[in-house]
């Protein structure tokens, strides 16, 4: 304990003492350059983990959720515009993104200990994992859906009569948010027994 105290005290002395040999210019310019390298490196690494290639580099994602996505309209459709994993699962705003990335450290834990490393384990955990995503999208008013599907620019008159009525009654009034009705839009559903709106 005393050794630790001594170490901390020594560090603090060095840290607070003015530089004896380095010029102010070296310190400021050097600090700036180091900051640019660190910050740039940090963001590059962050963006690298924000790609679909990164997501499906793990077999848990590649063999389960990615395969399910492939047959849905968010992967292949008439206009060729598609959503990748982070488009829906990672917030686009920086602060929220960092918060989500910190949460994702739990997923690294799951990867290391093989929480969902087989299809069976994944199926057994699917409801819990889905509930996390439903809760997130309910809380942020389906923000990741709305990054592309803006309600403001949605023309109900060209929607199918069924969709138009539902959107006018529940979306436009703010009664419901996208995820309330569109669960399972991009992946298969877990066992829905007991989930609100399902029997």
């Amino acid at each position: 304990m005393t050794r630790l105290k001594e170490l901390v005290a020594a560090f603090w002395r060095t840290f607070t003492r003015p530089a004896a040999y380095l010029s102010l210019g070296t310190l400021t310019v050097g600090g700036f350059v180091a900051g640019v390298i660190f910050w740039g490196g940090f963001n590059t690494a962050l963006e690298l983990t924000n790609t679909e290639t990164f997501c499906i580099s793990c077999h848990e994602m590649r063999d389960n959720v990615y395969q399910e996505l492939r047959s849905t309209i968010h992967f292949t459709n008439r206009s060729g515009v598609r959503a990748t994993c982070p488009d829906c699962h990672v917030p686009h705003e920086w602060t929220d993104k960092i918060a989500r990335k910190m949460q994702a450290s739990k997923e690294v834990w799951g990867k290391i200990f093989g929480t969902i490393n087989t299809r069976e384990k994944f199926e057994n955990k699917r409801l819990e994992l889905a509930k996390h995503e439903w809760a997130r999208l309910s809380a942020n008013d389906s923000l990741e859906c709305r990054n592309c599907h803006s309600e403001e620019y949605m023309d109900f008159s060209v929607q199918s009569p069924r969709a138009a009525v539902a959107h006018e009654t529940y979306l436009a009034t703010g009664d419901k948010t996208c995820i309330d009705c569109h669960k399972g839009i991009a992946h298969q559903l877990p066992n829905m027994a007991g989930v609100e709106g399902w029997n």
């Binding site: 199918s160 298969q188 877990p190």
Partner: protein, 158 residues
């Protein structure tokens, strides 16, 4: 035990078998004019374009009272398995007030002994065993069905 067969018997069996084969081959050649069109057996027919699915909010008139109503809207990507039934998320008894969809008929709650259950009977769970979407396309086979009203109308006219 070894039995020796008469040569005439062997010839007879051979004739029967080859005759049967010829009949089967002829049937197979006729079948090529069925759903797969006139494409030769060793070739591929050009796939027809996928017709558009009917997408309305209107129910079609049933051809006869017991007919399972057709689905007037798209059901692409709707999940229907042991985990969930997306049809029921609108058509279930406790969902219709919110969705405005017609409730599935009470017969779906009956088990095979005619007893009414609290929820949809498992034997009636898989909707698209009976209910299907409609597309704008030529019927593949002809049909001379006449509905009862037309039939009665014709009888009265005569």
């Amino acid at each position: 035990m070894k039995t020796k067969r008469h040569p005439t018997f062997v010839v007879l069996v051979a004739a029967l078998v080859s005759g049967g084969l010829l009949a089967v081959t002829a049937a197979a050649q006729e079948a090529t004019t069925g759903l797969r069109g006139l494409a030769p057996l060793y070739g591929n027919a050009e796939a027809p374009r996928i017709p558009a699915t009917e997408e309305t909010a209107k129910q079609r008139i049933r051809a006869y009272p017991e007919q399972p109503p057709t689905i007037p809207h798209k059901i692409d990507g709707y999940q229907l398995d042991k985990n969930g039934n997306q049809c029921l998320s609108c058509h279930a008894r406790n969902r219709v007030s919110e969705s405005g969809a017609p409730m599935l008929s009470v017969t779906h709650f009956m088990d095979r002994d005619g007893q009414f259950l609290a929820t949809v009977s498992p034997r009636r769970y898989f909707c698209n065993q009976c209910h299907v979407v409609q597309t704008e396309t030529e019927p593949l086979v002809g049909n001379t069905f006449v509905d009862i009203d037309t039939l009665l109308g014709n009888a009265a006219a005569q």
